[in-house]
Subunit: 328 residues, 6 copies
């Protein structure tokens, strides 16, 4: 909790809910006049989840005497939070992938997808990939990988939520629950399963250069990084020099932050959108991000360097705004 | 005029427009710093109609020096008011009814509807019911009921506006205008006309237990309360214990307040919506309210207690927000 | 730069970008507390383009410490500006024309359109007219007119942008670029080309009574004024007394200001719309303006006086709001 | 704690300092935006002493982020409180008495003064009376009266503080401490001791008509009411109709509130005054109040009705300000 | 009423008090957010007296919800006005004269003073001149002059108030009231009476070059201009070139505005000063103004040019503050 | 320039006035909303003199649109600065010394005073010491010491200003100007001159233990530290254990900061005080500080440990206010 304006040295480990609440209230008492829906908008992050955002907003409302829900994002669903937030990163990543494939003259339908993890992001990615017609053939966990030869089913996707809620953190449970359909191999990564498209959805550096080589050897021809910096530099280098379509997390996983932005929009409008509306707007945003990558990443030979495209697009947006608004 | 923050003892009866105006201006001079589009938003109510809201807003604008139309609802159509406000309660009630029927495995098409009154709410309900394919076979007034065997027509619905504007307050006029098509019976209620669906649209306690029994005896199997507490407790008890689908006004007539909320949204967006947009959003809201009733009112036997569902849903929304936002 | 609140005597001619910037910053230092997204919203105008709006907004943001982009319109596309702004006036004019024709029982498809100029407005008009199925047979410049017998093509419309960017200000270039397809006649106006519909898109008083007579003689039966007061009073009088459909700029060209309003809405919502969304909302607004003209301009004989209709509609909107909000 | 804006039902009895503190903080969190140094200024009263004012101010400072000490009075001496506050009421009463005597052609020097109580007010009155040359011959308590034939001494006055701090609430202690000099009589009031001037300094209704008669019988010719409504109506009537100079508490005890006003002035000036400065300003204020009483209370026969004078002066001040400032 | 920020075209002539009040309230409703005790502070002037200041302040207080009396000067005595305001200009003029004489090695005691007018300013000047030991030998009116050979008395000074209140505007009344002591000569100015010191206290241009010559011929050796530009340029030139001490109104009559400043100080301090305190501070200010005139007006020959001194001192104060605070 | 809220890395060395001005303006543009007359009040310090305060205030006034001079101290004399600021530290130190001597049963009259430096502080100290009847027998500079056996004269004190303005930084100039009266000894400190009272007025650590011993050997019996930590710990230890009266700079030199506080008071009051008023208030403050030192520093043997007294008094003031205002 904290950030550029200072933060605190409060350690929430071992504190009761009431202690957390009092800390959040004291923190907001210091912070409240520095934030606002058109100023700075804190959001949840590591150690600041729904509970903390709730306590912070309750105190903010008391102090500011205004129901400015847009001052914080990550709020509860009944008081200004976004309905599609858990799925946002995964859904957005698949929309990006869809446009990347389309640009490359391919479609996602029928393609085999290997993804890592089985948490929030993997769950959203599996859901949307399946919706779009792909076949998710692998999910993984710290204990190993589950191969799902016929593609993940609705029941399996729902069971991912049960697995996560159990706190056991074992992907083997999927194989136990769906014997024959999901085959567990301990100690292996998702990248060992033959696939068309690899989607790292778990954690930083989860896909090494060796993994990249194994993927290629097994027929993979596309990798969209969903986790933050999930691919090691060597892996990215290998993808880019071996004809494998690659897009960086900076672009692919922007759906999470974008949905926070949509939460702010709903708050500004004093309205809640249906899941369909959030989804459509998320799709539009991911499509625009893809277009920016294409605009700035298209190479002389017509191929697209998504890493370069995403970097330049981001830089240009900030730089243009700064230049246009003058030096003060 | 007044409310929790105090109010006044000004009696508008017999006052000129200029006196009403000066009172509204003086009242707002006291009130203006306590209200705001993200704070408290007064709306019209008994004795506070479009005229008063206009005078109040004019003074607010002068004092606050901002064109914050969202600070009051019930505004005139050319300066921030909602285009569908008169129809809102009636339209919303029918959307709720439609979802209730759908949930019960039925449709509204072709069903006979008896509704009470011929004012604003009844007019909106008749309009939307007819649009959705139902046959409105009864409207009523203080003088009696009009039976309309073939269902109300567009011309008749338009004539309801004329009747209301005449201030005669006699439903018999409909029979006079449309002889043969509308048959007037003096001293009877709408509930005496055989129907599938009863919609009390007039005033509190307008439907007694005896009325409920008469409805059932005549084949009625559904009653959606549109007026505020239109059904007497005995009537509700009878409905609930005799297999008649019943939904309380708390849920059914929420379309009016919801449209005030949509007016605030349009004001926050600095935009006016078309009637279609307002209607679609109203429908979405009523659908969500119905879903909440189902979520909290579904009984072990699979039936839905809409009274229980509406009460619990309302309580849970407030209670959850309070708990999540902490104790201060 | 300036207006009702005072303005300045700074002459930007011959000033460097840095001098312009410092002037804009000093100007905003005086102005900032008098403007706001719900108060007064300056927009670009003669001598105040994107560069100036950028410098003004940069200083405003610094002073107000809020990212209230809605405080100015005409912003850059990456920091709150509207995506369809250049096309707005032309697109809006054609939507209005379309509704006018529809009301008159005609369609725009296949009709020959002569329009003056080849700048921003003419380009938008030509684009949308072509999209709607009309055949743009003339564009013009200070040097003469280009007759395009088979109707303007996508390539020609794109070339209009090149011509404008060249700063040569010569419409003859179109004929040079597309020999055979575009025929240049020096010293003549667009109104010399036979057409169904005339769209003055250039400057004030560009269409005289004689031009009106020539248009009629050549078969023209409709003129929608796009430029501000593009038709001389004699021309309007001739149109109105010789059976030619005429609509004034006050209504026809409102799409520009309306799109500034939509920019404010996007800013209030903290969101950017796609071009399609802006276009749809622009269409809705132009349709509403047309309806207002019809409502107030329909003559006893059923014909519509759009001049009268636009004037009365504008007056009524302001007058109604003033009366309803009281005298203070 | 509370007042016109609402207050609370918190009962401080039996609460710990920390509980009192948290209540004060919660109370101020509600109140802070309604008070201010030029707006409403709460002060201590029954149940709200220095401890509560400290907690309230600490929270106010935190919330308002300004060191506006003038927002509350009764503050601690090191952070904006007034140095002469405990003595203020008593000192002011004696200044008033001095001017009353002067107006009547008399002096206070050498006069015998009987005063009731031995608390804060009595202590201040005894101190100043002695300073001005009077001889304080009686103080009293719930247990009886102490006659001090030779006049109270500096040591005795200091001992009043000790007695009060002991919480024994027995005036007999003075006689025990100063045998021979102070003679205790149980069950009697101060009004039983022969004196020139009677100063009721204890509580409401402490001086009855019988007391008034006893005073007169013993030679008393002046009574200045220091406690709030210390004299019963019958006593006042007797004084006024038997040639005894009488001034009401409304005027006589205004020094307490006036010193709160001086605390506000010191806060507004960001400065602390010496005791001498506070005393001089207090004297000036009491002199002005006396002059107002004379101005409005002088009778046709030249005598002064201080009750009438104080009432009319207070009314005129408010009424004049209201009339001069217009009706709104 | 009005000034640099705009003003109005309201003509108060013939309006009732209620109309004046409503105008003042409407005017303040526009003005209130542009003024403040540290911002702009309107004061009374021609056509804006105590009545108007009262109505303006009443409305300001209502709008701003703060008791910021310092926002206007010229308030009523019971709600923030200054106690010595009527006397301020006359008193200040005499303090300046006293210091001017002292600097010239002379005293005011026993000197004969001729002053013009018998209004507010003349009354203050006569009062203070007499207090300081001078002998006021002439007052005047539109009807002529009163010679008072033995000097004006306390009774005569008080009678000036009666004369002014009578609205007769005739100085002859003084001679009628005090026969023998005050000798009236019709049609003559005060400058015809032999004196040491001439004090023009009436109106602009009231003392011509011929008057100046007559004064000198009669022994006058000093003229302090109290009225605004009371001396014609020729008179000033004559004084300065004929060894007559002269000081301009710019310096001499500054006591009026200075006392408005002292009213602001009392308001900022939340306190009322006694007349003595106001007088002492006024004296200090006039002494400082005199010192500034000496500092900047001392000539190489040691004499003091008060016209030059006052002009330079005023310019330097503004110029120094501007330079020190930088160019923005 | 900077401090707790951040500061900057701007190096004013070698910058033009215009560059300094622009830096100050940019700095204030960031700072202005964090400061205020009741909030944080920056003052001049090393590298921030009158020039910088002027530029900062000019920008503040522009931004805040209020003439809140109290927001900064160290302002120019014509726009809110204090008249006695240069002398403040020296005057205050002598008032403290006077009270210290009085408490010790001594007087300052006729005592020989040795002081170090000849700058601002030394000049103020010499002025006031002489006014109070002491004989200043030594001043010093980096080049050595001037012995002035008969005590410094008014002419010599005035010449200190000339010496400082010359920027030569040589105390020998005094001896050159006043031969015979001031005797220069190169390379020696003021502490080598026999005296009763030593006043270090120059810089940190300027008085060593050896100096202390030399002072005692020469008869010195009192040392009041005027410079910030002018005495080395060994010197203080020697003084305290050898019967020499010693007071620390923390208390002795508080007059500088106190006069900044008085500048704030004058600003809050919208008034300028005469030098006499500032001096009297400064004296009152120094007297109070001395009393606090006595209160907390009196030892069981009756002697006063001013180091202990000053430390405890400072701590108690802050601690008491914190405790009384509660824990938040």
């Amino acid at each position: 909790m904290g950030g550029a304006k200072g933060g605190s040295d409060f350690d929430p480990v071992g504190k009761s809910d009431a202690e957390i609440m009092r800390f959040c209230q004291a923190f907001m008492l210091e912070l409240w006049q520095c934030i606002g829906p058109d100023q700075d908008i804190p959001a949840g992050d590591v150690g600041v989840g729904g509970r903390e955002i709730g306590f912070l907003y309750g105190m903010y409302k008391k102090l500011a005497r205004e129901y400015n829900t847009g001052v914080l994002t990550g709020k509860g669903g009944t008081w200004g939070g976004s309905i599609l937030r858990p799925e946002a990163t995964g859904f957005g990543a698949l929309y990006f992938t869809q446009h990347l494939l389309d640009k490359a003259g391919k479609t996602i339908e029928g393609k085999k997808v290997a993804l890592s993890g089985f948490g929030n992001v993997a769950w959203g990615a599996a859901t949307k990939a399946t919706q779009l017609g792909a076949k998710v053939v692998a999910i993984s966990g710290p204990d190993g990988v589950c191969h799902i030869p016929d593609g993940i089913t609705k029941e399996m996707i729902d069971y991912m939520l049960v697995m996560r809620a159990s706190n056991r953190n074992m992907v083997e449970d999927m194989a136990t629950k769906f014997p024959g359909k999901a085959i567990f191999t301990p100690g292996k990564k998702a990248w060992s399963i033959p696939c068309d498209i690899a989607l790292p959805c778990a954690f930083q550096n989860e896909l090494s250069e060796d993994d990249a080589k194994e993927l290629k050897a097994n027929g993979c021809w596309c990798c969209c990084e969903v986790s933050n910096m999930g691919c090691q530099p060597g892996a990215i280098h290998f993808f880019q020099h071996n004809g494998i379509l690659f897009a960086p997390g900076k672009a692919v996983n922007a759906g999470g932050v974008a949905t926070s932005g949509l939460e702010m929009t709903q708050n500004a409008e004093h309205i809640s959108w249906s899941g369909e509306e959030v989804d459509a707007k998320l799709h539009f945003i991911m499509k625009s991000i893809h277009e920016q990558c294409v605009k700035f990443g298209t190479q002389p030979d017509g191929t697209i360097d998504y890493v370069k495209g995403a970097n330049i697009a981001g830089f240009m947006k900030v730089a243009t705004a700064m230049l246009e608004q003058g030096i003060i």
